[in-house]
Each structure stands twice: as C-alpha cells, then as structure tokens.
Symmetry: C2
Subunit: 528 residues, 2 copies
C-alpha cells in the first residue's frame, strides 16, 4: 500500500476512501484503482487543454460574427472541393473553424434574402450559449428547473398573445415537427383507439390543407400513416393565394355525405412562397361546424400578431379560434435557430396521445412531478429552445418585436413598389407579408428564356458574393421561374438598408439584360 500513498495529488482523498468504515476489509483489494488513476490523469490533462482553448475559440467566432461583411459568400467551391479542403486544412479546432467560416454562407449579411430566416440576433445567441454551458434537457423539472418553468411561461405568453383562452404546448425542433404534432393530436382526438389498435383497422381519415400549404403537412401525413391520398389539397385563389373556402366547405360537405371522416384542417398563416394568409376566421367557423380539428401553421406569418399596424394584425383574425398553432421565432424575428413552438387549446391532448410514463424518468414519488413536460412529447431529451425567445423578449419587449416586424413589412412594401415601378422588373404576385415575388420584364425574350433567367442571375450574383434570393416555379402562375425575395432582417445584426435593397434590384435588372443579350439563355436552351 506504500506505492499508493505516493500518488500525492489525490493522496489524502484516497486515504479517506480506503479508510471508509463501510468497506469489507478482506475484499478491498479487489478494487482496481490504479488503472482508473492512469486514465483519469490522461483525460484530465486533455480536458484542461480543451478548456483553455474555449475562450480563444469563442473569440475567433465572435470576430467572424462581429465582422459586418456584406458579401454573402466569399469562397465558392463544389461539395468535393470543400471536402478536400476540410480534410487537408482542418488540422486542429482553430483551423477547422476557419475552414467552416470560409465555406459558410453569411446568413447575417443584409443581402441574404434566400430563406425565411437570416442571421441570428445577438441576445438569442447569448441564449444559445447559455443552453450549451448548462447542457441539459427540458424533459424533467429536476434536471432543468429554470428551463422547465421558462418553457411554461413562454408557452403561456405566446398563447395569450394569439388570444388562446387555454393553452398547453411545447418547444419543438421546427415548424415541420409542430405540424406533425397537430395532425397526430387531431387523429387521436378523432379516433382515440388508434393509440392502441393502430390505424389499420380504424376509419379512413382525411386531412385538408391548401395547395399552397407547407410540404411538412405531406411529410407528416406519411409519417402518421395517413397517406398522400388522404391529404386533400384545397385549391387556393389565384388572386390572393388563400385557401378557397367555398371549395373547402363543399369538400367537407361531400365527405360528410359519404360518411368519410375529415379529422384535420390545416390552414396557413403566411405561405412559403407568396406569404398569403388563409381566411382563418371563416375556416375556424367551418371546422367548428363539422367538428374538425383546425390547426394554423403560422410558422412564418405568426409574427404579425406583434405588429402595431392593425391591418397586419388582421391577417391573423380568427387565429384565437384554432385548436392548435405552430409559430417559429427563428424566422421573421431572428431568434437563433431553432426556436419553434407548438400550442394547443386542447388541454391534456399532448399527454393523452404521447405519454408512456417511463418509470426511470417520471417517477410518481418525485417532488414537483407536475412540472415535468417530457411525457407530452414524441421525443425524450429536448433542448429548451424556448429560453432563447424568453431572453430575447426580456431585451426587446413586445414593442421591440413589433418594431422589427413592421420594419420588415415596410421594407418588403418598398421593394414591391420599387419592382412595380421598375422598367425592367415586374411583380409576379401582389406582395403579401414580407414576401415579394418578381421577375425580369424583358418582352423580347421567350417564355423559356425568362424561365431560365432567375437561376442564371442567382448563380451569377452568388458567385460574386452578391445577394442570395430564392427562385422557384409556382402552380398559380405560368411564368416559370421567378424570384421570391423575403425580408427577415428586422432584428438581425446587419440591417438591410433601402438603398442596398433597391440597388440590388437594379443589379438583378442589369444582369437580366446582359445575360439575355449575351445569349447565355439561348445557348443553354440548345445545350440541354
């Protein structure tokens, strides 16, 4: 035992351990302490080393974040070249982070207008960092006392904001999962036996959404075993992009007459491309008449509820009558990704549908068992993303959020006006919310050439580090590819100025002219 006492660092502690009055003397020697000592020293050394690295690494990343670079992307490379560069140059963590920054898109550039999100707000970044250093799960109160209480408070506050008289909810990993929760709950309420029996011998169940609804409804229908054929897409109105409620009504009547159960109506507040808001008031009343669960996917448009402009708030009129709601704080108002919420008025439905009462987590004897929300979910561990919104809300308040929302919408309006008055650009749809759909206006080009322009313009601009703006086709128009500009820079670091916006639109017009006159589009037509 003399050898052991030489391990001075843990010496006195070790003595305490060996002197434990509870140990059976004859068996003490069985304990293989020496290999533990060796591995502990080795790993302790590595951990100290890693810990010393953390501050410089954080500083390196803060410098990247603080650099208000307008260029969306500096280095362009194919997936293969990026892989080779990463393999060659990522020798240590510092150089790996350099590589990451080099081959990343700067979403916080004012010219990143490609998605329904952009750079993250600094307060929410602090929130994300708090989640990392505390590193815990929102499944039980005992391991996340503050986070569990905060999630509950945030859900209540958002519910109140949307006019829900009762509310229960969850932070989810994204809007798609929120929509999945909605359909899952609605099916359970329509057919409670599905939980034990399964869908196979149950009734055929139909879900109705608009044809402009987000594709996550389709993914959810597949996951749930509803099937594509039972997710009926109600046409939208060409003029507004809203679900045609006359058709919705007649479809419901038709299914009712045929004794086929419609269990779910998923409406959309802010469609992905057009930014359209379904008529929630009418849909709520129809769904209530037929006793169908009404879910509002307000992942994108929900932020309108904060607006100080009553016309903007009116886009969400009727939302308070919905059975459930999805809203993403990581979209328009720039809370760090992800920060998504699912809310429902059907108290208890989440628990009834999902709870399995795992004895190792949700012990009945546990103190404050009632504050555990983990069994409401389809997951086990779950990050407390609600915290980021809570912190953000403390800093900016409802008024600050309102200013951000209204600023985005004003800029979108300005972009739309600028396009409408432009000699070389035209709107494809009337602008709605923060979405502006437009394309080059060049009457001498063929429809096919005009269709080819947006991808070419995008690639050209992107390769120079200029703006990124999404393009796509859309069933409601025959124009082919067009741009969808989305303004989400209301709360993010590098704010988009009006002149940046309008001069960027001018550059698109100029590129449309030069790319079409250089014959690039024609050549491509022949080539493919």
């Amino acid at each position: 035992q003399g050898g052991r006492s030489k391990r001075t660092a843990e010496g006195s502690e070790l003595w305490w351990c060996l002197a434990s009055p509870y140990m059976n003397n004859s068996k003490r020697s069985n304990i293989i302490i020496s290999s533990c000592f060796r591995s502990l020293r080795r790993i302790h050394h590595q951990s100290d080393d890693a810990k010393r690295l953390l501050r410089p690494l954080i500083d390196q990343l803060l410098q990247y974040y603080e650099d208000n670079d307008v260029m969306v992307q500096r280095e362009h490379a194919s997936p293969k070249d990026i892989r080779n560069s990463l393999l060659k140059n990522s020798k240590d963590v510092k150089s790996a982070l350099e590589e990451l920054c080099k081959y990343s898109v700067r979403t916080s550039s004012p010219l990143f207008l490609n998605q329904l999100y952009s750079g993250a707000d600094p307060i929410s970044i602090a929130g994300e960092f708090a989640l990392a250093v505390t590193n815990t799960n929102a499944h039980t109160f005992e391991v996340s006392p503050a986070f569990s209480v905060i999630e509950q408070m945030v859900i209540e506050n958002i519910g109140k904001k949307f006019g829900f008289d009762l509310v229960e909810g969850l932070t989810t990993p994204g809007g798609s999962v929120s929509n999945l929760y909605a359909m899952h709950l609605a099916r359970y309420v329509a057919d409670p036996d599905v939980k034990t029996r399964g869908a196979v011998h149950g009734p055929r169940l139909i879900a109705l959404v608009s044809e402009d609804a987000h594709y996550s409804y389709a993914k959810a229908a597949r996951v749930l075993g509803i099937g594509d054929n039972n997710l009926i897409k109600i046409p939208t109105r060409i003029d507004s992009g809203q679900m045609d409620t006359d058709i919705l009504y007649s479809k419901l009547k038709e299914f009712h007459t045929n004794n086929t159960k419609v269990f779910f109506i998923g409406s959309t507040a802010g469609t992905t491309v057009r930014g359209s808001f379904d008529n929630l008031e009418t849909i709520a009343s129809i769904s209530s008449n037929y006793n169908v669960w009404h879910h509002v996917d307000a992942a994108w448009g929900g932020a309108a509820i904060w607006s100080e402009n009553k016309d903007t708030r009116a886009l969400l009129r009727g939302v308070k009558n919905a059975d459930s709601l999805a809203w993403n704080a990581h979209k328009l108002i720039n809370v760090a990704l992800p920060c998504a919420f699912f809310l429902t008025k059907r108290i208890g439905a989440l628990e009834e549908t999902n709870a399995t009462h795992a004895p190792y987590l949700f012990q009945p004897e546990k103190q404050f068992r009632e504050a555990d929300f983990g069994d409401r979910t389809i997951m086990c561990g779950r990050k407390a993303d609600s915290f980021k919104f809570w912190l953000y809300h403390i800093h900016y308040g409802d008024q600050g959020i309102a200013q951000r929302v209204d600023h985005c919408l004003r800029l979108a309006r300005l972009a739309a006006d600028y396009v409408a008055n432009h000699s070389l650009l035209e709107l494809v749809f009337p602008p709605s919310f923060a979405n502006v759909c437009f394309r080059p206006k060049l009457p001498h080009l063929t429809a096919d050439q005009l269709h080819q322009l947006p991808p070419l313009i995008k690639q050209h601009m992107h390769s120079k580090g200029d703006a990124m703006i999404g393009f796509q086709t859309h069933h409601a128009t025959s124009v082919g590819n067009f741009f969808r500009l989305v303004i989400t820079h209301g709360g993010s670091e590098s704010l988009l100025t009006e002149t940046q916006l309008t001069s960027m639109l001018d550059r698109i017009a100029q590129l449309a002219l030069s790319l079409s006159s250089s014959g690039t589009t024609k050549k491509r037509t022949k080539g493919t």
Copy 2:
C-alpha cells in the same frame, strides 16, 4: 426633396437610389421611404446596443462554465417560487442569465449522475457557438456548404466505425427521433403503398422490441399509427437484461404461420436502466432469415465501438449487420446536446419515404442539387449538430474517444465493486456498461421501507447540493425503487474522481441508515 438630403448618414446612398436609371420618374414619389428611415434608425440603435452586450454576456456564461463547482444545485425552489423569482428579478438580460444559472442544475458537476448525459465538452461548446453565429440550416447545400459536406463526412465515418458497408444518414434532434425514422423507413419498405394509400387499408404490421427497450419505440409506434397493440415486447432475460432471442424466434415463427407481417425488430445496445446489450449477432441473423428490418438503438451504448478493450467492443458484435442504427454523441462522450445520428444501409430509403420535392427549396436547376439532404428528412429546417461531433473528433481523435469511453467503464466497474463489497449497499443487477444499479442493504427494514429509501435519500442529497442519481423500479426485480448510477464524465469538464465516487456511495449508505432509524420511512407509510 430638400428634406431628404438632410438625412446625412444614408444621404449619398439615397441619392444613388433615387438616381436609379431604371425607375419610372412619375411613380418614384410613391415609395414611402421616410417611414423606413425612421424604423431603420430605431432598430439599428437597438441592434448596436444588443451587439455590444454579446461579449459581456458570453463572458458571464463562460465564468459560470469555468467555475468548477462540485455542488449540483445551490438554490432549491418549487416551480412556483422559481417563476416568481424569474418574474421579479429578470429585469434585463444579464440578471435573467443570473437567475438561469441560479436555478439550474449543474450537469457538469462530477456528482451529476442522474441521466445518460452530463456537462458538455468545451470543444463541442465551441461547435455549438459556431452553429449559432453562422445560423443556418442543413437542408440545402447552397445555404450550408460546409455543414452539408461535414454532415455527409460524419455519417460516413460513423458508418465505417460501426462496420456498415454502405451508409446514408441524418443528424436528428435526438435518439427518439432516430428510432422513429427507423420504424418509419421499415414500414415503408414492408408496405411501400402506405405512402400514398395510408395505413388504413394496408396489412397489419407488427414491430418487435425487448421489454427493456427505450420508450421512444412506443411513442414512435403511436405516431406512425402502428399502435401499442402491434408493438410486441419480447421478454428480457432476468440475468442479463438481454432480449430473449428464443422467444423472439418463436414469436416470429408464430406470426409467420399466422400470415401476420412483422416489419421491424428493434434491438437495444445499452438499455436505459441496466445498460444491457441485446445479442445483435443472433438477432441480425433471425431478422435476416425472416426478411425483417433490424434496427439497433445504440443511442446509449454505441460509444462502446470506440473502446480499446475488445470485450467492450464485443458488446456490439453483429451491429454491422443491422439495417439501421441510432447513436447519440451527446450521451457517454459529452458532445453538447443534442448530437444524435440515424444511419441506415438501405441507400435511398430516406429519400423514397420522405421526399416531397418542394420546388422552392430543391429546384432541379440548382447547382450541386445532389448535395442537398433536406428531402431525406421528415423536417424542413434542421440544425447541423453533426458539426459538433466533427470538431470534437478533430480534437480528440478516435483514440481520445476510446480513452473517454474506457475511463467511464472503469469508473463504473469501480463503483460496482465498491457497492458489492460494501456492508450497507448491494447491487440490484450485475453491472453492465456504465450503469450500476444498487440499493441500500438494511436487513432490518421491510420491503416497503427499502422501496421508500431511494427517493428520500435522493431528495435529501439533492437539497444539499450533493449528488443526483436516478432511481426507479424495474420489472425484472421485486426490490422496488433502486438507484441507477450512470458514469458519463469521461469527457466532460469536471471529472469525477474515484474518491468522490466512493465517498458519495458512503454518504448514501450513511443516509440510508440515518433516515431509516429516524423513522422517516415509517412515518411516510402512515401518511400516504
């Protein structure tokens, strides 16, 4: 127009905008620029303010992280008291973060032994911070060039490590979602029509898992519409906690004879409570004979593949024959939460099952479209959590991971030996992996009193900031509540020393003695 030129800050840019050659003069006045200027200035001011706050806030959180406090929790309060404190004291972001830290459990304390995770490794925290400052989604290559390539590389590397000859996969929000993916894909492969037709008029489909499998299988079965009744739980062997493969085989034969399709066998590598590993080799061979999808939930035990000890690696023998696998890097090896992976050998199955080809994201004309993995998922936006593991792996390498895994297992072995030789403690199950199940050994107490002790001891220790260790009952034993100690501190900041571990076990023994002799357990029996 004179008034406009006075706005000096953006003056020259504004001139450029107004002088745009593409603008129709007569309509220019329509653009409502002035209100944009006002809102921009206001928000710019707030953003500058927020940006200035970021570094001090990060510093505040780093101080919390760097403080090697051993106390698991300093402030204890009920959910209601925490709410009141948060409402009263969270006046600004700084004080809100103070409140958070005050009412959080310190998962990085060496005495946090409550879950299958603990504090986050510093390198992975830097990775999390990189995700926040770059703030993007892993759905398309164009918005996440580096992250998309890295996700692919990580999936390939993990696949290779587990011996998969082919591999495709995804970063998921957690192990439960990975298990959901597995069952979802398996159903589609067994019944491809389910995607369009739905489950209702399809065949009855049966999933088999062990009775010790994670509860997420049950949640997945409900989400998918399989139903509790069609998720058959195969008994585990009392001695080992492994799925009884004889019963598995006879069940499969029985269903086969009855013409009932078994589509899924979910085995477990590292059960939640006992840490048992199913016999993957035998199960793979059985499932292959019956042409059933075999998924391995190695969320907890997968880290064993890195071990330098061949007996530990042998726990996973046969894993390479599985059709799919779940592994969480946020568990044993302490990558910041969440960092979960789903892997499958069935190339194309993810895309076939889930793709909806949303035209606004997955445009066929887009460059490097083949590097977009978003349509493989059941989600839309998705955080690139794989990056944290990539960075961690660059720093520690396979060897560093191996050291961490083996260190955890050595410590668990030491704890088990200490308990086995203790006069006042006893093992409830033979130790397996990093799980040690034990309870007080006090022959003079009744079974009910012994059942009451673990929650009482836990509450007592927890209230003093001492260790947190989970307790639960388990179907394989009649002892009632017992402790499950889990060692996951192999890579985390504050390493658990042997003496901390053994002296903590002594404190549990001492508490068992004093609480039972003080009559606390008896009183509680009368009271409830």
